[in-house]
């Protein structure tokens, strides 16, 4: 029984780490620009797909180079998205921006479909596939890559926002745009940085999990949805809350699949999410905002 | 008789006291003004009177009934209406529709009868429209009735908010800075409008920065400073109260009037 639970926890943390990275991407963009970027899942897909495409075949790049290339391309996509789809629509209503980002996600999926077709692709594991044992529970080296990579990235993001002037400048934009302008921060540039950072996290998530989960042109849809759920669960606008939300969602799903019903595990995840929202309308760690009249 | 009676009212936001131990009475059929420097807690007070915020302590009795704990729509139903410092127009509607919303409590047709547009609905619409047009006429807004709210000048919007609040047929009307942002002519119009409202038998509770207006229309004035009562009295008393002058015009009293 405890072995089982340990296994569920390992699974939950791995899946949750992926969700956490996607959720973190959501939170960063939301914080910086009040936009929920429904194309966040597509960053994950593009990261994984370009990494595979760049490394594939005889003329392909060595894996590390391919990964760097993939990350750079994804960041470029994120920046282009901000520049040409989000920035022109500044001031639009919540629903309008939702539809724009949904349109962007469909568009990116369509492009991926044209470029890579409908095939499912696999990526080699970074360091072999020999399972490691913890008691009766097992995990793959790649699970450690996912967990460790996610942990490093989260810490990196934390450092970026707490200890660098650019990171603080983005935070300043998100808490008071006018004041940010007034202290001389180039707010437009900061938006690009935020989208680039978010795309970077998406690409990293895609690259880390692709060896385990495979990838295809439509792999971003479900991850985007789960990441959004996680960000909401943790409380939109609180990056570390989003990370916690991601881990929580991964664990809930894994434990629900193992202990209750695998068919209803997603439903259970969403029911818990709804219950959390009913009790705390702004998520687990979200700020309760007082409405000004 | 006091229409509204506030006792021991206290409200703090995250440790900062916005209103402290406040008490006052608003007599019926009078214009009662609340003044005070920016940040003195006037809007917070209004929000508590209208049920939007709940105070930490104290009581608010309107028509001898406790307001605290009631939701704003229930407070409105008791006969209290208000306007807002930052316009709260329904910008997605025409002027007439805005004021028609004010007739909500005086009409009764439900979703079902409205969906099928039963004769009773058509009749009620006609009557409500008449009321709304009366309220618009009262505020001198007949010409704007068909226009969309988002296309109108600020001063007009301010008056539409008043017409909308009047359509509720309130016993007490709270006006939150009706003259803010108005030019001289508009302020004059506002003054006469407030007088007309008062003459029509509605008690007015006014928050305003424009002292000229306040002094001219008020029967009594309450001065707030840091959420507490600084002074209360007739306009003359207030104008000559040294504490008020200092609170208002700043520390250097050598220019005192």
């Amino acid at each position: 029984m405890w072995d089982q639970i340990l296994q569920f926890l390992i699974t939950g943390v791995t899946v949750g780490a992926t969700y956490a990275l996607v959720a973190l991407g959501f939170a960063i963009i939301y914080n910086a620009s009040d936009v929920v970027n429904f194309a966040q899942g597509e960053f994950v897909m593009i990261g994984a797909m370009t990494a595979i495409a760049l490394s594939a075949g005889d003329g392909g790049l060595p894996l590390p180079l391919a990964l760097i290339g993939a990350v750079l391309i994804t960041i470029a996509v994120g920046i282009l998205l901000q520049r040409f789809a989000i920035a022109p629509a500044r001031g639009a209503s919540v629903v309008t921006t939702i539809i724009i980002t949904i349109g962007a996600s469909i568009f990116l999926r369509g492009v991926a479909l044209l470029v890579w077709g409908k095939d499912i692709f696999a990526m080699p594991h970074f360091s072999g596939e020999i399972p490691l044992h913890i008691g009766n529970a097992t995990l793959l080296p790649q699970n450690l890559w996912v967990m460790g990579g996610a942990a490093l990235l989260v810490m990196g993001v934390h450092y970026f926002f707490n200890h660098t002037i650019i990171g603080k400048a983005i935070l300043a934009c998100s808490c008071n745009r006018t004041a940010a302008h007034l202290v001389g921060i180039n707010v437009g540039l900061m938006m690009l940085v935020a989208y680039g950072l978010s795309a970077f996290l998406g690409a990293m998530a895609g690259i880390l999990v692709a060896p385990i989960t495979f990838t295809s042109y439509d792999a971003g849809v479900m991850l985007g949805l789960k990441g959004f759920s996680a960000a909401i669960l943790g409380g939109m606008g609180n990056p570390m809350g989003a990370v916690a939300g991601g881990l929580a969602l991964g664990l809930i799903e894994s434990l629900a699949a193992g202990l209750i019903s695998s068919g209803y595990k997603d439903a259970i995840g969403f029911i818990i999410l709804l219950l959390v929202l009913f009790i705390r309308p702004s998520g687990m760690f979200g700020k309760v905002s007082a409405e000004r009249v | 008789m006091a229409l509204l009676e506030v006792k021991d009212l206290t409200k703090a936001f995250g440790g900062v006291t916005a209103i402290a131990d406040l008490h006052f009475k608003v007599p019926e059929n009078k214009v009662y003004s609340v003044i005070g420097p920016n940040g003195a807690g006037k809007t917070t007070l209004f929000n508590m009177l209208s049920g939007i915020y709940h105070p930490d302590e104290g009581s608010i009795r309107f028509l001898d009934q406790e307001i605290i704990g009631k939701e704003p729509h229930a407070v409105a139903e008791m006969g209290l209406s208000r306007t807002f410092q930052n316009l709260q127009m329904f910008f997605n509607m025409t002027v007439l529709d805005n004021v028609l919303v004010g007739c909500h409590l005086r009409t009764h047709s439900g979703l079902f009868s409205a969906a099928f547009r039963l004769p009773s609905v058509i009749r009620e619409e006609r009557v409500a429209r008449q009321w709304a047009e009366e309220a618009l006429a009262f505020c001198g807004l007949e010409e704007y009735s068909r226009q969309h709210a988002d296309a109108l000048p600020y001063g007009v919007l301010k008056r539409i908010e008043i017409a909308r609040a009047l359509a509720v047929q309130p016993k007490l009307l709270l006006m939150d800075e009706p003259a803010a942002g108005l030019n001289d002519t508009e302020t004059l119009e506002m003054r006469s409008l407030i007088r007309r409202i008062s003459e029509s038998g509605i008690t007015v509770l006014l928050v305003e920065h424009n002292m000229g207006l306040v002094m001219q229309v008020s029967d009594r004035i309450l001065v707030l400073d840091y959420g507490s009562r600084l002074a209360e009295g007739t306009p003359e008393e207030i104008q000559n109260n040294p504490q008020v002058i200092e609170a208002y015009l700043g520390g250097e009293v050598q220019y005192a009037v």
């Binding site: 209503s93 939702i98 349109g103 469909i106 568009f107 | 910008f91 009764h108 969906a115």
Partner: protein, 329 residues
């Protein structure tokens, strides 16, 4: 009669099209789908466009109606009308109970909660195979019979859906231009001000949520009996998002905008089929570009533009859309 002028033009169009094209695929087949989409979009627009409560789970109510009709009439041999009525009841009850907690949420949290609700319902449809037929769906759903006349051809269905659609549009136009409709729009414009006018925003929101759900359920039942087959894929969250897109693309807070959006988004994929692999990309691009350049939606955006051209200085950009022809009844 100016109030309903647009409606009469629309009704005439709906009535005349099959006279000229009695057996045209785009009229009697896609037209029927478009009609159902119009009903759904108009109902969602009441909730989203007018009352300002975003819902990414509207397909769930469509599905509850469709499946109740399907299960009761196909599996248990109920009269389709009775099945439809039961579907409405069930939807009403569910909508009523989730409305209060869900509508306390705002913005993206509300979007997430409705989306989650939609997904939960979809999972239930997929997992309860004995009852719902699971992901492969449920077939042999009987058609509707109206006073002994069986609705058994595309043209007949065109008539039935056309009438239902017009009825829903009519109801929506009536509601919007009434005390209740103004209450809806008011709470969108400013919730505090609406409260101060004596509108109980909580019950008003609940009311419109339930109403929108009921109309969606009605559309679901019609869909179910018209198709003769239902499967969970037709009620997925993708479809919910498609519905939101219809409302937004046409123009929020305009019944005609919703009608327009539904029709465009039903026909667009039919026309994009020829682009094959490019279809997905083109669709995404159209969606994005429309919202960037006409953030108020195509219908409302173009109408406002037309206003502007007609009288130079009137009607600057509106915050929400505007419904024209709001004259006296």
């Amino acid at each position: 009669m100016r109030r309903l002028a647009g409606f009469y033009i629309l009704a005439a169009g709906v009535a005349l099209l099959p006279v000229f094209f009695p057996d045209n695929y785009f009229i009697t087949v896609v037209g029927v789908t478009a009609g159902i989409h119009v009903i759904l979009a108009v109902s969602l627009n009441l909730l989203m466009g007018y009352a300002g409560q975003i819902s990414l789970g509207h397909a769930a109510f469509f599905g509850i109606g469709a499946y109740t009709s399907a299960i009761l009439s196909a599996r248990y041999g109920w009269n389709p009308w009775l099945a439809m009525l039961t579907g409405l009841l069930l939807t009403g009850v569910i909508a009523y109970f989730i409305a209060r907690p869900i509508l306390r949420l705002k913005g993206h949290y509300l979007a997430m909660a409705t989306l989650g609700f939609g997904i939960i319902i979809n999972i239930v449809l997929v997992q309860n195979g004995q009852l719902t037929g699971g992901p492969d769906g449920l077939g042999d759903i009987p058609s509707l019979t109206i006073f002994g006349w069986e609705v058994d051809s595309d043209l007949h269905w065109y008539g039935v859906i056309g009438v239902a659609m017009l009825a829903v549009i009519w109801l929506s136009l009536n509601i919007i231009d009434s005390r209740s409709g103004r209450a809806l729009r008011a709470l969108h414009g400013s919730e505090v001000a609406a409260e101060m006018m004596g509108i109980n925003t909580t019950t008003t929101k609940t009311g419109v949520f339930v109403l929108a759900a009921l109309i969606a359920s009605f559309a679901g039942s019609l869909f179910s009996h018209q198709q003769g087959f239902v499967s969970p894929g037709s009620f997925s969250f993708f479809f919910s998002i498609e519905l939101v897109t219809m409302v937004v693309l046409g123009g929020m807070a305009s019944t005609y905008g919703a009608v327009f959006g539904a029709i465009v988004l039903t026909f667009l994929p039919e026309l994009l089929v020829v682009f094959e692999d490019y279809e997905v990309m083109i669709f995404g691009a159209i969606l994005m570009l429309t919202m960037i350049f006409l953030p108020q939606g195509i219908f409302v955006g173009l109408r406002n533009l037309a206003y502007k051209l007609r009288k130079k200085n009137a009607t600057p950009d509106s915050i929400a859309g505007k419904e024209q022809n709001r004259g006296t009844a």
